[in-house]
């Protein structure tokens, strides 16, 4: 076994993902198979290989910095238009601190 139900519950908590008991069982089985397959990477010797975090081209420019000039931002109302709950110009969420 690559992964247990207990580990699946732990990872789901890390990901803020509520999974039902059936989902946990099924996920454990599927992740177990997939992770076993992913272990094939161990067959390769990568001792002196640099990790590739992004695509870089030979001779590509990196002049991606621009002048820090003020610009009009997205208006407040538009930014909040898709919020499930908003008020007083803010996103509203369930109370975090008890009075």
């Amino acid at each position: 076994m690559k992964i247990t139900e207990q580990e699946v519950r732990y990872v789901a908590a890390l990901a803020h993902l509520e999974l039902g008991p059936d989902e946990i069982r099924r996920m454990t089985h599927e992740l177990d198979q997939i992770l076993a397959y992913m272990d094939r990477l161990r067959e390769l010797d990568t001792e002196n290989v640099e990790p590739m975090a992004q695509v870089l081209f030979p001779g590509s420019e990196n002049a991606t910095l621009r002048e820090d000039e003020p610009r009009a931002p997205l208006p407040h109302e538009e930014a909040l238009a898709n919020a499930p709950a908003a008020g007083a110009g803010q996103f509203k969420v369930p109370r975090v601190i008890e009075r």
Partner: protein, 480 residues
């Protein structure tokens, strides 16, 4: 002119000869969309108002004697993971069923500036995660060529809309093959450009080091024209490339004599469903056009699937963290605390495949596993990229199938995620290396299913892909 088979060129000449106005074209395209869409579920939203407004701008420009732009009056569909201001953008997810973006993606802005008419947003696998379009919260898409089969994914709706006659061309996104594979399954042309060639601004992120926007079209020439309109540096995407956008049209000379094409032996193993026979015909046709074909090897191909699914899910788990019930429309109704709200919103909002990938990605990034999985995969990504760079010392471009098999039946692979992942084997390699790759129609199997020929070029080698693809198409490659 029949819009169901029209090309950008035929629309341009119809407008020039005043045979049709842009308004008439928009109305006809919308009529076709309403009639055709129930057969496949390719489109999630029709953009009637927006298309008619764009058409009015084209007609006004023509009336004033001005140039209405290179894509004037061309009905295009946009994958519903590319944001459109004021037009619902769902990402195929229940979580975003009501999401109305406050801005346009750069690619959409550029299409419309070139005169194109955005007529529809197309169906997709949820957050572009899938190879069959069966992971959409709004139901699967049927392949217009064979309705009991999948159109491929994740840009299944875009490919189907072009094949079916709804849109003349479409935008898709490709992370591991999501433009090329549906293009091949539906029998249209589809290009995944060099990473950074097209701005990702406004493309809802799946795996940021792999995601690209690209065109699907009825001909290679049309795909080239669409790319020319959307490509180029955009300061709103710091990974967009500075390289100037060449004249793709000029590249399509029809002459491919002397070009060296490499056939990687790892890509011709285990082909099924008539794919090998079509590849053999393609090879013979290209040889008759004067290409020099030779066998090559990309030795790290067998490790590409695990490498890709570690990197892509790791990035996805980070990118999808933002859907927590705070900013984007949907929140689970029954949560007491903030933590419960996050977990319930995500648990109830995401479909099975997204959850699987969030879990995998979170796992491979978690303490104790990072080095064994994520870092290891990044190193293997280097090896896969080196394979290509070495191959391009010997050949100008690489020729391979897009998929090991043609379109499969709806439901056939749905219960076996690993089998579904393995179907991406021939497309994810170029994705990992950031290389441009195109799928060009390569005839049909005896069952009548389209097969796609894949051409892969060095970084920024799109002109070469268009040159070979167009010559192949003109020589009858599409009806082999």
């Amino acid at each position: 002119m029949d819009l169901r088979t029209a090309t950008i060129g035929s629309i341009r000449s119809a407008l020039a000869r005043r045979e049709a106005s842009a308004r008439e074209i928009a109305q006809e395209a919308l009529r076709i969309a309403r009639e055709e869409n129930p057969k496949t579920n390719a489109c999630l939203t029709l953009a009637e108002e927006r298309a008619l407004a764009a058409a009015a701008r084209v007609d006004e420009a023509l009336a004033r004697g001005e140039d209405p732009g290179p894509l004037a009056g061309v009905p295009v569909a946009v994958k519903d993971i590319i944001v459109t201001r004021g037009l619902r953008t769902t990402c195929g997810s229940r979580l975003l069923a009501e999401f109305v973006p406050p801005y346009d993606a750069t690619a959409v802005e550029r299409l419309e500036a070139a005169g194109a008419l955005v007529i529809a947003k197309t169906n997709l696998d949820e957050f572009a995660m899938g190879s069959s379009n069966e992971n959409s919260a709004f139901g699967p898409v049927r392949n217009p060529v064979a309705p009991d089969r999948v159109p491929g994914g994740s840009s299944g709706g875009s490919a189907a809309a072009v094949a079916q006659g709804i849109a003349v061309a479409a935008l898709g996104s490709d992370t591991g093959g999501s433009i090329r594979q549906p293009a091949s399954f539906c029998g249209v042309a589809g290009l995944s450009p060099t990473y950074g060639r097209v701005s990702r601004y406004g493309l809802v992120a799946f795996a940021s080091s792999l995601d690209r926007i690209g065109p699907l079209a009825r001909t290679v020439r049309d795909a080239a024209q669409l790319l020319e309109a959307i490509a180029g540096r955009d300061e709103r995407d710091s990974t967009s490339a500075f390289a100037p956008v060449p004249d793709y049209e000029a590249a399509m000379s029809g002459d491919v004599r002397g070009l060296r094409l490499g056939l990687p032996r790892e890509y011709f193993e285990g082909l099924a469903g008539g794919t090998a026979a079509q590849m053999e015909k393609a090879r013979a046709l290209l040889a008759s056009l004067g290409c020099e074909l030779r066998e090559i090897s990309l030795p790290h191909t067998p490790w590409a699937v695990p490498c890709y699914y570690i990197i892509a899910t790791a990035e996805a788990s980070s990118n999808l963290a933002r859907y927590d019930g705070v900013r984007y429309t949907w929140r689970a109704p029954d949560a007491g605390t903030l933590a419960e709200m996050y977990a319930k919103t995500r648990g109830q909002g995401f479909g099975a495949e997204c959850k699987r990938r969030i879990m995998l990605g979170t796992y491979v990034l978690s303490a104790g596993y990072y080095d064994a999985y994520y870092l290891k995969a990044q190193k293997v990504r280097t090896l896969i990229t080196r394979d290509f760079l070495a191959a391009f010392e010997q050949v100008d471009a690489i020729l391979a199938p897009v998929s090991p098999f043609p379109a499969f039946r709806l439901g056939e692979k749905l219960d076996d995620p690993l089998q579904m992942y393995l179907s991406d084997i021939f497309t994810i390699t170029a994705s990992l290396a950031g290389l441009p790759a195109i799928s060009v129609p390569c005839g049909r199997t005896p069952e009548g299913l389209p097969v796609g020929l894949q051409l892969i070029a060095p970084h920024f080698g799109e002109p070469l892909l268009f040159r070979i693809g167009d010559a192949f198409e003109r020589a009858g490659g599409g009806s082999l």
